[in-house]
Each structure stands twice: as C-alpha cells, then as structure tokens.
C-alpha cells in the first residue's frame, strides 16, 4: 500500500537537489532576516525591521526602557508555551506582511495583542493596583481596577501618542547594516 505513494526512482535525484536548494534558501532567508535573533528578548531584534524603529525609539526614550524590553509587554508571560507560540504566530504574520509590503502607514495593535500588553501591565504593576485589604471586602475588585486598557489614561506609555512609520524620522536606532554589496547597488542604479 504505502509503496504506491513512493515517487518513481528517476525523481529521486532532482527531488533531493530541489530540497537542498529550498533548505539553503531557507537558511539564507533566516540569516538575512536575522530570524535566529527572534528567539531572544533583545529589543534590537525588533528593529531588524526598520518599520519597528518608531516603537523602538519611543520605548527607548521612555521611563520603561530601564525595566522592560519589547517582549515584557508584547508577549504573554503566563506560561512558556504560550510565549513562544504567540511569538511565532505574530512574528510570521509580521514577516509576511513586511515582505509583501502591505504594512499600513499607521500600524494599529490588534485586539489580541493589546490584551496581551494589558495583562503585562497588570503583571508588573499588580501591587500598585491591588490592595489586599480592599480585595477582601470589595466584589470584583480586581476586575474593576483592570477592566480598562491602562493606556486609555496613561496615553503616553510607552510609545507616545503619535503613531506612524514616519513619526521618528531621524531617530538613532540600531538599524541593520545594508546586506547588499556596493557593486550590486551600482548595478541597481542603472
């Protein structure tokens, strides 16, 4: 039965070559796009995409720089599995959109992502928000203190209120060096 699905022998060599090429291209893509770095928490990895530069710059100038990296806010921290699952899912969507050049001028956080951030605000600030004394005698205490997105009031935390791919035009962010050799660029210009 299973044999039926084996390809004919003459396919074997080309298929192996093709797979090899794909694998090679994949590794190259991973290298070029620095995808390997996405496993880390270093904010610099987010600016592999120049599109993330405004968020990097604003975060970098905020009071949160000393205490948080992007992932502290943008990735779930309730368990390890969720963390990497969310990262992979989001990361793949962003990479696709970026490559297809479909990013909007003004990026909006999605509801799902916003909820993640919100939970992270609460995670760090819980002790300022929740008074053990009061939770003893007030119903829905925690819900009521955390049911609005924190940045409805704290509107400037941490990215400020001006959002656009061009909102920080000359910000010094650690952009990746150009990977394209000079001689290719010259070809390109003609």
């Amino acid at each position: 039965m299973i044999k039926k699905f084996h390809p004919p022998k003459i396919w074997r060599i080309p298929v192996i070559i093709a797979l090899g090429i794909f694998a090679g291209l994949f590794v190259l893509s991973v290298y070029l796009s620095k995808a390997h770095s996405y496993l880390s928490d270093d904010p610099k990895t987010c600016v592999n995409c120049h599109i993330m530069a405004p968020q990097y710059a604003t975060w970098n100038h905020s009071s949160h720089r000393e205490w948080t990296n992007c992932n502290d806010c943008h990735v779930p921290h309730n368990n390890v599995f969720n963390k990497y699952y969310f990262k992979a899912k989001d990361g793949l969507r962003h990479a696709t959109i970026f490559t297809l050049r479909k990013e909007p001028q003004v990026i909006f956080i999605k509801e799902e992502g916003a909820e993640v951030v919100h939970q992270n605000c609460v995670r760090c600030h819980e002790r300022q928000l929740i008074d053990a004394k009061q939770s003893a005698c007030i119903s829905n205490y925690k819900e009521h203190r955390t049911d609005r997105k924190c940045w409805e009031c704290h509107r400037e935390v941490p990215h400020g209120r001006v959002n656009s791919l061009s909102s920080t035009p000359f910000a010094r962010v650690p952009l990746p060096e150009s990977p394209v050799p000079e001689w290719i660029k010259k070809l390109d210009n003609n």
């Binding site: 002790r127 009061q134 003893a136 005698c137 119903s139 819900e143 203190r145 009031c153 509107r155």
Partner: protein
C-alpha cells in the same frame, strides 16, 4: 534601605477583615469610613472651601452678587432670593437648610418647598424611601423630613454596602432610563462611573400628575437628552415651573443638566467618565485608590488631566479658561437681552396688550430663557461640552431677539416706539429691590429658623442614630 522596602511591602500585603458589617441603608459616612479610611478621609476633604478658579471652585460664590441680572430673570421664583455656585458634597444638607429658597417653615406642613427637595442631598434618602415608599417620600413639605435627613451626600448614595459595587439609589434615574427604553442595570462599569453622578447632576422637574399628592421627581428625557427634546417635552405637557413676575411668561427652570451636556462633549464621546476627572486615582503608600475629594479638577490637574494630557498645568488651565470665556461672553449678552424682553413685555401689558397678542411673545421668552438657563446652570458645561453650550446660546439669542422684534412692533402699535431704558440692576441689592423683594424679612426669618427649628431636627436625628447598633468584627 532593605528595611524600608520591607515596610512598604508590609503595607500592601497586610490582610484585613472589614471592621464593620454595614447594614443595607447605613447613611453614616463615618461608619463606612471605618472599613475604608482612605476613601473616607479624602471624601471629608470636600469640606474644604479654599479653592477658587476663574469661574468655579469650592468656595461659596453668591451668583446673584456676581451677576445681578439673574435676580430679574427669576423674578417671582425662589432663585431670585438666593443662589450660590455649589460647593462640596459635605455641605449639601447644610446648604439646603440655609438657602432662602427653602424659607423658614416652623411646622412640618409649612414652607415653600416639597419634600422632594431632599432627594439629592443625602444618603438618608434611600433609607427613608425604603421605609416610606418612593411616592410617599415625595409627598408633603420639605420640613416634614427635616429630622430624618441629616447626613451629607455620601457612601450609601453610590455604593452597595455588601459588594461596594457602584449602584443607582435614586428611582428617578431608573425611571428616566425606562422611559427612554433603556435599562440602567445594563450599564458597564465605566458607564456607572458617570451614572452615579447622573442621579443628581441632571435637569429635573416635579410632576404632580404621576401620583396624587406627590411632587414626583422626574427627568424630562422621554424625547431625548438635548435641550430641544426637553423643551418639546415640557411644551407638549404644558408644564411650567412658575409664571414670571414681570412678563407673566410661563417659565421653565433648568437645573444643572451636568450629565446631559457632558454627554455631548468629546470626553464623553471618548469614554472618559465623571470620575476620571473628578475622582482620579491617587497613590499613597504604594496603593492606588479613588480620590473621593470630589471638586474642581483644576485644583488637581496633576492627577486628573495630566494622566491623559502631557501639557503643563498652566496650559491646561488656560485651555479651560479659554473655553469658559468664549462661552460666557455670549451667555452674559443673552442674559441682558432676556432681561430687556421681560421688561418690554411688562410695558406691553401696561399698554393693555391682549392675551392673544402676547401669547407668541411669552412663549418666545420662555424658550429663550430655557436655553440660557440650560447653558448657565450646568457650571461645568462650558468645559464639558463647549461647542454644544455655545450652540444652545446661539439659538437662545436668536429666539430672544425674534421675540423682541415682535415686542417692538406690538409696542409701536400701542404708541410706544422707542428703546425702553435698561434699569439700574448693577448690584444684587438693587436688583432685588427692583423686583420688590423684602430681603431683610426673609433673612431674619431664616436666621430664626436656623436657630430654633434646625437644632430640634438634629436632636431627633441624634437619638435615632444612637439607637442603631453597628456590628463590629
């Protein structure tokens, strides 16, 4: 350092059992305060009267002194005797006793005001309503409940003692929502942070037809919450609060449509609640709690405005004043025009104009003053929704002046074809004399009342409260 950190952590994690078991209608703020000292202490700061902003603040401002035109506008109605810009919740009960509007009743069945007046002044109200029934509460005179209602606005007005959830304790709001086909119980948590205020900071009237013998507190929202919708509502039912002493126009009084006007502003549109500005969070000892010192946010820009707006305090204050100035410039003008209209109408009556000839004119005066009052009575309105307030004033000016054009034609037809001189009403005293009020007498009676009747009320209340026991853990 380490020990300081430990201390602060201890503060936060100290687990507490409520000290007091609150009964369902506990009206005494002090008792609630045993469980919630931070909220209670901040609440009691509403006793402060030291802050005055450009137009508001918690100092007591005698509006008739600031703007004596009001005396003429309200001739024949209680407000011409006495009207202040509201101060802190702490004073609600004291002020209703002190105002000349409530007179000097020396028995429970006397005085100019119905018991309904108490409705928005105290957490004793839900208690008495539950004991007597709602319609019963609205029956009789204001003096009838003098000894029952003694605690100033407080916890039980806004909170459920069991869960501490926000709750609506005033039937008028529930009924108004029903009339609009809405259910106030479906309000979100964030909406409740405004709706507790909407129990009181709204335009109202007393409906004598709902229940026989009762002056039933009602909000005129059935046709909508705009100034025009309420006007139509009152016109259709032929309601008027009083007949103007000078012009004989059937008048409407607009009382503090704070919530209605706020709803028309950008902050409400963006989901900002009353509590966000008037009860912002405050941090103390590593904890955020709701600051119950309800007051002008201009005395607390850092915690209210600046959490959302990064501008400097001076800039934000200037923003508020600019809006108020732009609105009040035209509001003041409108007042003058309506004063003139009242006097011109009187002149027409003097020249024997007929009811028929006067009818449209009187309705014009009614509508113009209604719009002016709606814009003026909500003290926060010129910031809460500046454009809506300005729009209302514009329509008021148009109506006032259309009416005066009719008056000028009518007067001309009676042989009087010139500008009527504007009276000297440059001070409160002059204006009150102009409309023929005997202030000395009113003040004297009030003084006696405060010295003789009120102490008896307090005595009775003390006894009653002493008889309740408080369950402590």
């Amino acid at each position: 350092l380490a020990s300081s950190i430990m201390e602060r952590r201890a503060e936060a994690s100290f687990v507490n059992v409520p000290k007091v078991k609150l009964s369902e209608f506990e009206p005494r703020n002090e008792v609630w305060g045993e469980n919630f000292p931070r909220e209670f202490q901040s609440y009691y700061q509403t006793a402060d009267t030291s802050f005055q902003s450009k137009y508001n603040g918690n100092a007591m401002i005698d509006m008739l002194e600031v703007d004596p035109r009001l005396v003429v506008l309200w001739a024949g109605y209680g407000f011409s005797k006495d009207y202040n810009q509201g101060r802190g919740h702490y004073y609600a009960v004291e002020d209703i006793r002190k105002t000349l509007r409530t007179g000097a009743p020396d028995s429970p069945d006397e005085g100019p005001m119905p018991s309904t007046c108490w409705t928005c002044k105290s957490p004793d109200v839900p208690r008495v309503m539950q004991e007597e029934g709602v319609a019963e509460f609205y029956k009789g005179k204001w003096a009838r409940l003098g000894s029952e209602i003694v605690n100033p606005i407080g916890c039980a007005d806004c909170h459920d003692p069991e869960t501490m959830n926000l709750r609506v304790t005033r039937p008028a709001l529930v009924e108004a929502f029903e009339k609009m086909g809405k259910d106030v119980n479906k309000a979100t948590h964030q909406e409740m942070r405004s709706l507790v205020c909407a129990q009181c900071h709204v335009e109202y009237y007393f409906n004598k037809k709902t229940v026989d013998g009762a002056q039933y507190l009602t909000f005129p929202w059935e046709k909508g919450m705009t100034v025009e919708a309420a006007e139509e509502y009152y016109d259709e039912m032929n309601f008027s609060d009083w007949t103007h002493a000078i012009s004989k126009a059937p008048m409407l009084k607009a009382q503090h449509p704070g919530y209605e006007i706020y709803k028309q502003g950008i902050h409400a549109e963006r989901g900002v609640s009353c509590a966000d500005c008037h009860m912002p969070y405050k941090s103390e000892g590593g904890q955020k709690f709701t600051d119950h010192h309800i007051q002008s946010p201009l005395n607390n820009v850092a915690n209210s405005c600046q959490v959302c707006h990064r501008e400097e305090t001076a800039t934000l204050l200037q923003n508020v004043f600019d809006r108020q100035d732009k609105v009040i410039e035209n509001r003041d003008k409108l007042e003058e025009l309506i004063v003139r209209a009242h006097l011109e109408a009187k002149k027409a009556w003097d020249l024997e104009a007929s009811e028929d000839e006067m009818q449209e004119i009187l309705m014009g005066i009614r509508h113009a003053q209604w719009r002016w009052d709606y814009a003026a009575a909500a003290h926060g309105g010129s910031f809460h929704a500046p454009l809506e307030t300005s729009r209302i004033i514009s329509t008021g000016i148009t109506i006032a002046q259309e009416t005066r054009i009719k008056l000028s034609r009518l007067l001309a037809s009676k042989g009087f074809n010139e500008e009527l001189p504007y009276p000297d009403i440059s001070t409160k005293a002059k204006a009150q004399e102009f409309i023929g009020l005997d202030m000395a007498k009113l003040n004297q009676e009030k003084e006696e009342f405060l010295e003789t009747v009120v102490p008896q009320w307090l005595e009775q209340a003390k006894e009653r409260e002493a008889s309740w026991d408080v369950k402590r853990n």
